[in-house]
C-alpha cells in the first residue's frame, strides 16, 4: 500500500525521512492536482481551484524540515503543502469537493485547508495575509520560551503588499523565530513578475530588514531542503527570521479560469525540463536508492490508490444545512 491510502497524518509525515517516500509524496501531489483538474473540468468541483504543479519540491522540503508542533501559514495554492505536511488525501480532497468529511467539514473548500495536528493554520485566500500571522505565532513561541518555529509560504505577488513589509520589519525588530518562504513562481495571479516588481530576486528585500535573504532552486528538493534546514535551525536557535526565495514555476494558470495564454512561447517548456519530479527521480536513480522498475511500480500504485480514494470521496455525503451554523463562535 502506498502512503496515499494511509489515514494517519503522523505516519504520512514521518515517512518523509526516506528519500523514496519523499518522491512518492511529490508524485502523489502531482497526481492529486491532475485529479482535481479533471474533477473540476467534469463539474464535480464547485468554485475554483489553484493548482500547485511545479512546486512540489518546496512543499515536501518544508514538511521534512518542520515538526508537527511548528506552525505553517500557506496560501490558497495549498493542496501540496497540506498533503506534504501529512494531511490525508481523503481529508483534503473531501474538502475540495465540499464534503462533510473534509478537513473543515465542507465549509472551506480548496482555498481553506487546515489541520492543527500537522501545524497547518487555515490557508489564506488573501494575498500576503499569512505573513504577519506567522510572525505572531513566532511571537507566541518566543514569549513562552519554546523552540517552535513558524513558517509562512507566500507567492511572489505577496511581496508587494504591505503585510510582507510589515511582517518582515516586525519579525526582524523582535527577532522572531519565523521563516518567510517566498515561492517565486514568476506570476502574481495573471501578471509576470517583471510587470509588477522592480526586482526579480525577491530575497534581496531581506536587506531592508537586515535579515538573511537566501535564494534557492525550488525545483530541486535536495537543495531546497538544505536551505530551509538552515533557516529553520536559525529560527529555532533564537537567531531570528530568514527570507528564503525558492525559484519555482507554476505549471498551471493562476486558477482554473486561467489558461495562462500570457506566458511567452517556450517558457513553460523550458521550466518543464527542470520539473521537480524529473529531478528528484533522477537523483534517486543516480544514488541507487531505487531502480527504474521500483519507481515505475510505485507511480502505478500511487495512481491507482489515488483513483480509489477519489472514487470513495466522490461518493461521500454533502454536509447537512446545520453545518454552516457551526464554528461561527465557540460553543457556549
Amino acid at each position: 500500500m502506498t502512503l496515499v491510502r494511509s489515514n494517519d497524518p503522523e505516519r504520512r509525515r514521518a515517512a518523509l525521512a526516506d528519500p523514496v517516500a519523499r518522491y512518492e509524496r511529490m508524485y502523489e501531489i502531482r497526481r492529486f492536482e491532475d485529479r482535481v483538474n479533471d474533477l473540476f473540468a467534469r463539474g464535480a468541483i464547485h468554485g475554483t481551484t489553484h493548482l500547485c504543479a511545479g512546486q512540489e519540491a518546496l512543499d515536501v522540503s518544508l514538511a521534512l524540515e518542520l515538526r508537527p508542533t511548528d506552525t505553517v501559514s500557506a496560501t490558497y495554492r495549498g493542496h501540496g503543502i497540506a498533503l506534504a505536511l501529512g494531511m490525508t488525501v481523503h481529508s483534503v480532497l473531501a474538502e475540495i469537493m465540499g464534503k462533510a468529511d473534509g478537513c473543515t467539514g465542507g465549509v472551506g473548500g480548496s482555498m481553506h485547508l487546515s489541520d492543527p495536528d500537522v501545524g497547518l493554520l487555515p490557508t489564506f485566500a488573501i494575498v500576503g495575509a499569512g505573513l504577519p500571522v506567522a510572525a505572531g505565532a513566532a511571537l507566541a513561541y518566543q514569549t513562552r520560551g519554546e523552540d517552535h518555529v513558524a513558517v509562512c509560504v507566500f507567492g511572489d505577488g505577496a511581496a508587494n503588499i504591505g503585510a510582507f513589509h510589515e511582517a518582515l520589519n516586525l519579525a526582524a525588530v523582535w527577532k522572531l523565530p519565523v521563516v518567510f518562504v517566498c515561492d517565486n513562481n514568476v506570476y502574481a495571479e495573471y501578471s509576470r513578475i517583471d510587470l509588477t516588481t522592480p526586482l526579480s530576486d525577491l530575497h534581496r528585500r531581506a536587506g531592508s530588514y537586515d535579515i538573511p535573504g537566501v535564494p534557492v532552486d525550488g525545483m530541486d528538493v535536495t537543495a531546497t531542503r538544505a536551505v530551509l534546514a538552515e533557516a529553520v535551525a536559525r529560527a529555532r536557535a533564537g537567531e531570528g527570521p530568514t527570507l528564503v526565495e525558492a525559484k519555482t514555476y507554476r505549471f498551471a494558470g493562476h486558477s482554473r479560469a486561467d489558461q495562462a495564454t500570457y506566458r511567452p512561447a517556450g517558457e513553460l517548456e523550458r521550466w518543464r525540463e527542470r520539473d521537480p519530479l524529473t529531478l528528484a527521480r533522477a537523483e534517486l536513480l543516480a544514488a541507487g536508492a531505487a531502480s527504474e522498475d521500483d519507481l515505475t511500480a510505485l507511480e502505478k500504485a500511487v495512481g491507482e490508490d489515488l483513483d480509489a480514494v477519489a472514487d470513495a470521496v466522490a461518493a461521500l455525503p454533502d454536509p447537512e444545512p446545520a453545518a454552516m451554523f457551526r464554528n461561527v463562535w465557540a460553543a457556549a
Binding site: 489541520d115 493554520l121 506567522a134 510572525a135 511571537l139 503585510a163 510589515e166 516586525l170 464554528n327 461561527v328
Partner: protein, 338 residues
C-alpha cells in the same frame, strides 16, 4: 469599589488579566515605554516586562496580524489601535482572518484576540481621528463588538473580552478616558459580553444608548423627570435583545441614540428587530437620534453639535412623548440641511 478614571479602569483590567493569565499580552503603538497615548497602560511594562508589553512599529496590518497568529497558537493578545481609523489598514486581519479561523478550521483553531480602539468625537481631533466606525465591524460573523460607557464597563467588558474564546473588538470612546466613576474590580467587576444594562428606570419610553451617548441620554432623562428608561447596550455583537424587548414591552416606545452618522448605523438594527418582534407593543413609531450624515467637523461648536447633545436628546424625547410623532433633527428644524 474604587473611584477611578476610565483610562485607569482599562489599565487595571489589563493588569488583572495579565496577573491572572500568563498568556495575556499587550502590544500596540507606544503602549509600553510611553504607557499608552491615552495612558491606558500605565504601569504595565514595569510589572510585566517587555516580552508581554510591547511597543510596535506603526504597522497595524502587521501587528494585528501578529495578534491573530499569537492567538491561534494559544496566547491571548490585546492589541491597541490608537485611533479607530487606523484599523482600516488592518481590517483584513480582523474581519477576514481572525473572525474566520474558527469556521475555517472546523472549530479547531480559536482566536482569543482583543482589539481595543479609541473612537468618537468631542476632543477636537478632526475628521480623520474622530469617527466611531463600529459599523465597519458589526456585520462580521465571528467577531464580537463592545463599547464601554464608563469606568465600570471599561473594566468589565475588557476583562470579559480577554477571557472570551473569540475575537472581540472593544471600542473605547476617547472622550471618556478622563471621566471618573466608581469601579468594582476583580471577578465581581466583570461585565459579560452581550448583556445590556438598564442605567435608569422609567415606564414611558425606552432609550437605547451606547458609549458616550449614554451620558447624553441619562442627562436628558434627568431633565425630563420620570418616565425615561435608559439602556446602555454595551455590546453591539451580540446585542441583548431580551433586555431591550422587555423594556419596550413595558414602555411601548423606543428611541435609539447614536453618535454615528445616520446611514448604516447600528440603531437601525435595533429598531428593525424591535419593530418586527414587538410591533403590537409599540404605541408610537420607534426612531433614532443620530449624528448627521457628514464627516466630524473640527470647530468646537460644530463638533459639539455633531454628536447628539443633551439638549437635542431632551428636545427630541419631549416632543416625541408629547405628540407621539417623530421629531425632525436639529439640522432640519434649523433649515441647514435636508
Amino acid at each position: 469599589m474604587a473611584r477611578m478614571r476610565v483610562r485607569q479602569a482599562i489599565a487595571a483590567a489589563l493588569a488583572d488579566a495579565m496577573r491572572e493569565d500568563g498568556s495575556v499580552l499587550l502590544f500596540g503603538e507606544d503602549v509600553a515605554a510611553a504607557e499608552g497615548p491615552f495612558k491606558t497602560s500605565e504601569g504595565l511594562l514595569a510589572e510585566f516586562g517587555p516580552l508581554r508589553v510591547r511597543d510596535t512599529p506603526i504597522s497595524e496590518m502587521g501587528f494585528v496580524g501578529a495578534a491573530v497568529g499569537a492567538a491561534a497558537v494559544g496566547m491571548r493578545p490585546v492589541v491597541e489601535i490608537m485611533f479607530m481609523e487606523f484599523l482600516g489598514v488592518a481590517l483584513d486581519q480582523l474581519v477576514t482572518e481572525a473572525a474566520k479561523f474558527r469556521y475555517l478550521s472546523n472549530g479547531r483553531v480559536s482566536v482569543p484576540l482583543v482589539v481595543r480602539a479609541s473612537i468618537g468625537s468631542g476632543l477636537g481631533f478632526g475628521t480623520q481621528h474622530s469617527q466611531t466606525l463600529e459599523n465597519w465591524l458589526t456585520a462580521t460573523p465571528g467577531l464580537k463588538v463592545a463599547v464601554p460607557s464608563d469606568a465600570q464597563t471599561a473594566y468589565g467588558l475588557l476583562r470579559a473580552a480577554i477571557r472570551d474564546p473569540d475575537p472581540v473588538a472593544i471600542l473605547e470612546p476617547r472622550a471618556l478616558y478622563a471621566e471618573r466613576g466608581e469601579c468594582v474590580t476583580g471577578e465581581e467587576g466583570i461585565v459579560p459580553l452581550g448583556t445590556a444594562r438598564v442605567v435608569r428606570e422609567g415606564d414611558a419610553v425606552t432609550v437605547v444608548a451606547l458609549g458616550q451617548t449614554v451620558r447624553a441620554a441619562v442627562s436628558a432623562a434627568e431633565r425630563l423627570g420620570t418616565g425615561v428608561e435608559v439602556i446602555d447596550l454595551s455590546t453591539l455583537v451580540p446585542w441583548d435583545r431580551d433586555t431591550v424587548l422587555a423594556s419596550v414591552a413595558r414602555t411601548g416606545r423606543l428611541v435609539v441614540v447614536e453618535e454615528s452618522p445616520s446611514s448604516g448605523g447600528w440603531g437601525s438594527e435595533v429598531v428593525s428587530a424591535v419593530t418586527a418582534a414587538a410591533f403590537r407593543a409599540l404605541q408610537a413609531p420607534p426612531f433614532r437620534i443620530t449624528a448627521p450624515d457628514v464627516p466630524v467637523p473640527y470647530n468646537r461648536g460644530l463638533e459639539a453639535r455633531f454628536s447628539p447633545s443633551v439638549d437635542e436628546v431632551e428636545y427630541q424625547l419631549k416632543t416625541y412623548l408629547d405628540t407621539g410623532e417623530v421629531p425632525d433633527p436639529w439640522w432640519r428644524r434649523e433649515g441647514v440641511a435636508a
